[in-house]
């Protein structure tokens, strides 16, 4: 009786593992991040950091688009601004605010570098992404 039960448990365990694998697979294909979340992975993966996620919604509640896209010189292109930590610490791009005065400073690495490793540069939920580039795609130009 007990032997039978352990056997059954083993089978159940295998089933659960397979189900978990299936569920994980489905979830990765089906990321649900916020509209306009930008993943920036120009240098992060190569530097063994998590890629950066820039939440547009969070910033637009607090700043007009113009502040970053006109005054600070951010181009309207994900990954198109060649941002690096030297520039940020020098007060350019993110560093214009993320300097400990307007917003928290660069010591809080993990607040920006928070994406799953290997996530490609993208504007999440964008029309282009949905039409041509599913979030599970491994590479984006």
């Amino acid at each position: 009786m007990r032997k039978l039960l352990t056997g059954l448990r083993g089978g159940l365990f295998v089933g659960l593992v397979l189900a978990l694998a299936a569920v994980l697979f489905v979830d990765i294909q089906d990321a649900q991040a916020e509209y306009g979340d930008v993943v920036i992975n120009n240098h992060s993966d190569a530097a063994t950091m998590r890629p950066v996620i820039f939440p547009h919604w969070f910033h637009r509640v607090r700043f007009a688009c113009k502040v970053c896209h006109a005054d600070l010189g951010f181009k309207f292109k994900a990954g198109g601004n060649d941002i690096n930590m030297v520039k940020i610490i020098d007060g350019q791009f993110c560093g214009a605010c993320h300097n400990g005065e307007v917003a928290w400073s660069v010591e809080n690495c993990n607040l920006c570098h928070s994406a799953k490793p290997g996530t490609p540069t993208q504007v999440h939920e964008s029309t282009i992404q949905k039409l041509a580039q599913p979030s599970g795609a491994s590479q984006k130009k």
Partner: protein, 338 residues
């Protein structure tokens, strides 16, 4: 003998799980679920109403768990809209409501038959458990039942799980549609943030900011133009100067379009509340009427309006927000009078 033992172990498991979760279930129900389920708001099955609950219980408690956790197209929000609830509490609340609707017996009876139906059952039950670790209570309840299944069935059922997962949502093939339960998820659950990163958990969840903002049907599900127009948000116009005000330009440009779609009205006003002239002119749009070739194809490819619309501003699915000026299909005599 074997049968009796199995049934007894099932009962024990049920009783143990029941006593642990009953209080938690009632607690969650009164705090969250009762808002709709007490009175049947939005056609929610009413608490204690066997007629409302009967058909749902017949589909099996695991299916109910799934509906409660993930939401349904009929209107049930995921976790009742309270995404911070642990899965175990949601399940406990489901148990509590099922019991009140006289479902305890109905739910228990099929379990006694589970040995025969086991081939079909484990695939349903295996699904909710691995998804979230917090389902220990449910596991306690379901483990003996599933153990009754012949081992080969449990293994054979596993590949079906994936099929079942996609078949559960008939529209899941269409990536442009997103069910209510999958909108505005907190960072650790959104699929691109790494839940293993401590910083991820320190980030503000979108719904914490969106709660008081006017809603829309696309994008972030926030009507940003109305939010700024009504003063619900007051984004700074300058990085540090809090007194700086936007120079709003109130000028509409009407673009006549081919075909039967209404003409496009482009409002400078709503755009200059957010943007500087130099953001669009002259790089994206030549500041001269009739000088810009714009097509829906170019917008979909991320050019012209598509530089923002379809990325951060509302997407092209909201046709009538731009195509908003009716064409004069017949030219009546009154046109001359105008």
């Amino acid at each position: 003998m074997k049968k009796l033992q199995l049934i007894a172990s099932m009962m024990l498991g049920l009783a143990a799980a029941g006593s642990v979760s009953a209080d938690a279930g009632k607690d969650t129900y009164t705090k969250v679920c009762a808002v709709c389920h007490a009175g049947g708001i939005a056609a929610a099955p009413r608490y204690g109403n066997a007629a409302d609950w009967g058909p749902r219980i017949a589909k099996g408690v695991p299916t109910l768990y799934q509906s409660a956790l993930k939401g349904t197209p009929k209107g049930m929000p995921a976790k009742g809209g309270n995404l911070t609830l642990p899965d175990a509490s949601v399940k406990a609340a489901v148990d509590y409501m099922v019991a009140a609707a006289g479902g305890a017996k109905a739910a228990a009876e099929p379990k006694a038959d589970a040995k025969k139906e086991a081939k079909a059952e484990p695939k349903k039950e295996a699904k909710p458990e691995p998804k979230k670790e917090a389902a220990k209570e449910a596991a306690k309840e379901e483990a003996p039942k599933a153990a009754a299944a012949p081992a080969p069935a449990a293994v054979a059922a596993a590949p079906l799980v994936q099929e079942g997962a996609s078949a559960a949502d008939v529209n899941s093939f269409n990536r442009l549609l997103k069910p209510a339960g999958k909108r505005n998820l907190p960072p650790p659950e959104d699929g691109i943030h790494d839940p293993a990163n401590d910083g991820t958990h320190a980030l503000q969840p979108p719904l914490a900011a969106f709660g008081s903002l006017p809603k829309s049907f696309a994008g972030n599900r926030v009507n940003w133009v109305e939010a700024i127009g009504s003063g619900k948000i007051k984004p700074r116009w300058d990085r540090t100067d809090l007194t700086a005000e936007p120079i709003v330009m109130d000028m509409n440009v009407v673009r006549e379009v081919k075909g039967s779609m209404p003409d496009v009205v482009y409002p400078h006003k709503q755009h200059t509340q957010w943007l500087d002239c130099s953001n669009c002119h002259p790089a994206i749009f030549t500041p001269q009427k009739g000088a810009n070739q714009i097509s829906m194809a170019s917008i979909l490819l991320g050019e012209k309006c598509g530089v923002c619309h379809g990325k951060v501003a509302f997407p092209v699915s909201e046709c009538r927000l731009c195509h908003s000026k009716k064409k004069d299909l017949v030219k009546p005599a009154t046109a001359a009078a105008r």
